[in-house]
Structures are given as C-alpha cells and as structure tokens.
Amino acid sequence: MGLAFRIATELVAGVLVGALIGWQLDRWLSTAPVMLLIFFLLGAAAGILNVVRVAKKMQPGRNGPADGQ
C-alpha cells in the first residue's frame, strides 16, 4: 500500500510542480496562460517519468545494492 501511494504522489507532485513553475513564469513574463499550459504538460511528463522509474525499481531482481551497478 505504501508503494501504491508512493506512485500516486509522484504523479500528482509532477503536475503540481510543473503548474507552479508555469504560473510563476507567467507572472514574471506576463505571458499568461502560455507558460502555465506548457509547464503543466512538462510537469505531467516529469510525473510519468518518475512513476516509470519507481515501477522499474520495484521489479524483482533490479533493486540490488547500488555500488555494483
């Protein structure tokens, strides 16, 4: 359950951070809503990237110690 919740938060955090960066850039550059839209999508992509990485780590046989890799 902890791992399932971890995946969900990674996805949400990606979108959230992307949207926040876009919103702040819009305020600085007064380009609303262009940056928000772009960074919302980039944030979603980052979230999915994180989810894929977590899922890859969860696969058996791939979570050994890091020193040897």
Binding site: A13, V17, A45, A66, D67
Partner: protein
C-alpha cells in the same frame, strides 16, 4: 458531531516573540521535544549497560540501529555510512512523531505539511549540496539523459529538472497526507460510535479497532518510506545514476 479537524489545531503554550517573529512554544513544539527526549532516552539510557546479552530496551535500540544501518548499506553502499547519523535521526524522529500521534489526546506533529515540508527541504537541499560537493559542476550531467537525439535534449533536460524538483513535494505530501487522512478517519469513525449509541455503535467500533492497527502500520511505513527515499536520493547524488 465533533469537528474532526479540531485535533490538528495549533495551540500556543508559551508565547515567545523573537524580534517580531512569532516563535511561540506550541503543542506541536511540545510533542517534537517529547519525541526527541524519548529517542535520546531509548538510545542513551537503553544502551547504558552495553551488555553482551542485551536487556529488552538495549535490544530495541540495537534493532533500530541495525535496521537503519542495513537500509543505508543496501541503498547507498559503503559511501553512505558517513550519512548514517542523519538518516537514523530522521527515521527515528518521524517514527516517534507518528507513533506519539497514535496516543489518545496527543498531537501528531507530522500531520502538518509545514513540518513535513521542512524535513523534506532539509533532505532536498542537503542532497543537492552533497551532489555538487562530490562532483562539482559535473553534477549537472545528472539532468542530461544519455543516448537521446540532440533535438530532443532541451525538452528532456527541462523534464528532468522538473522531475528533480518534485522530490521535496512528493516526499512531504506523502507523509502529511497519510497522517492527516488517517487521523481524520479515526476521528470521524469515533464520532460514529458515539452517534449511533449502544445499538448501532458496535459496527464502527469494530472498524475502529482494525483501523487503529492499520494506522500503526502506516505510522511505521511512512517513516520507513521517508528514510528509504532519503537513501535513494543520497545514492543518486553520490553515484549519479537514476
């Protein structure tokens, strides 16, 4: 029905005003102090005998040490031993704060996002500084994925940077959301028991018993997840691979 959010209210116990900043000693501060005092008691007083055949308390102290040491060894490798004290303090503090919150009438420190975010920010900034100290500007290569066409590279670097910036958010929101949701659920179902009375109150009461067990599991699990993610981030900074 009592307000289920009332338990998260911050109350000032001692008013302290430092140069116009509100630094009052609140119930949140009180439970942080209790957590730190209990951890110190466990590790210092529990280990006072240093017996070959440990007492119960020494056994608990040694078990928690071994548990975190194993976690650091498995996830960061030998290079991580330097950072063991930090991970151990972090794990024990979150574990004790979560477990203290399970006591009736107590306050759950980790159910406030500012507390969990401060912990996550310390981890995030610390890990980033370690990365730069270890690799210099070469740490920036961490954000450049290998084997991608040059045309896509700018886009992927931006995505990598955003993905890196999500770490403190996901770390803090996960701990805070778990603790707050769990305690709100406990309160709501506790109110059902009282509300339904002696006839219908048994069903939510049975649920409460099971749910309290689950909450104790979550309290441990979230401390574990926080510590293990700190280890994984440390490993990323030290060895620079995803």
């Amino acid at each position: 029905m009592p307000d289920p959010m009332h338990q998260f209210e911050i109350k000032r116990l001692v008013d302290i005003n430092l140069f116009g900043l509100d630094a009052s000693f609140t119930n949140s501060s009180l439970f942080m102090v209790i957590a730190v005092a209990l951890i110190s008691f466990l590790t210092i007083w529990g280990m006072r005998g240093r017996a070959l055949v440990p007492t119960r308390m020494q056994s608990v102290a040694e078990l928690s040490y071994e548990f975190v040491a194993g976690m650091v060894r498995d996830n960061v490798g030998s290079a991580g031993q330097k950072y063991f004290p930090f991970v151990f303090s972090l794990f024990m503090f979150i574990l004790f704060a979560n477990m203290l919150g399970m006591l009736p009438y107590s306050f759950t420190v980790t159910s406030h996002i500012i507390v969990t975010f401060a912990l996550a920010a310390v981890v995030f900034i610390g890990v980033t500084l370690i990365g730069f100290a270890k690799h210099g500007l070469g740490f920036l290569k961490f954000f450049v994925p290998s084997g991608v066409p040059a045309l896509l590279l700018p886009l992927l670097v931006v995505i990598e940077v955003i993905s890196y910036l999500t770490r403190p958010i996901s770390l803090s929101v996960r701990l805070f959301a778990n603790m707050m949701a769990g305690h709100t659920m406990l309160k709501v179902f506790g109110a059902f028991v009282v509300g339904l009375g002696i006839l219908g109150g048994w069903a939510p009461l049975a649920f409460m018993v099971a749910f309290t067990g689950l909450e104790i599991l979550v309290a441990f699990l979230q401390a574990y997840v926080f510590a293990i993610l700190t280890c994984i981030y440390l490993n990323d900074a030290l060895h620079m691979h995803h």
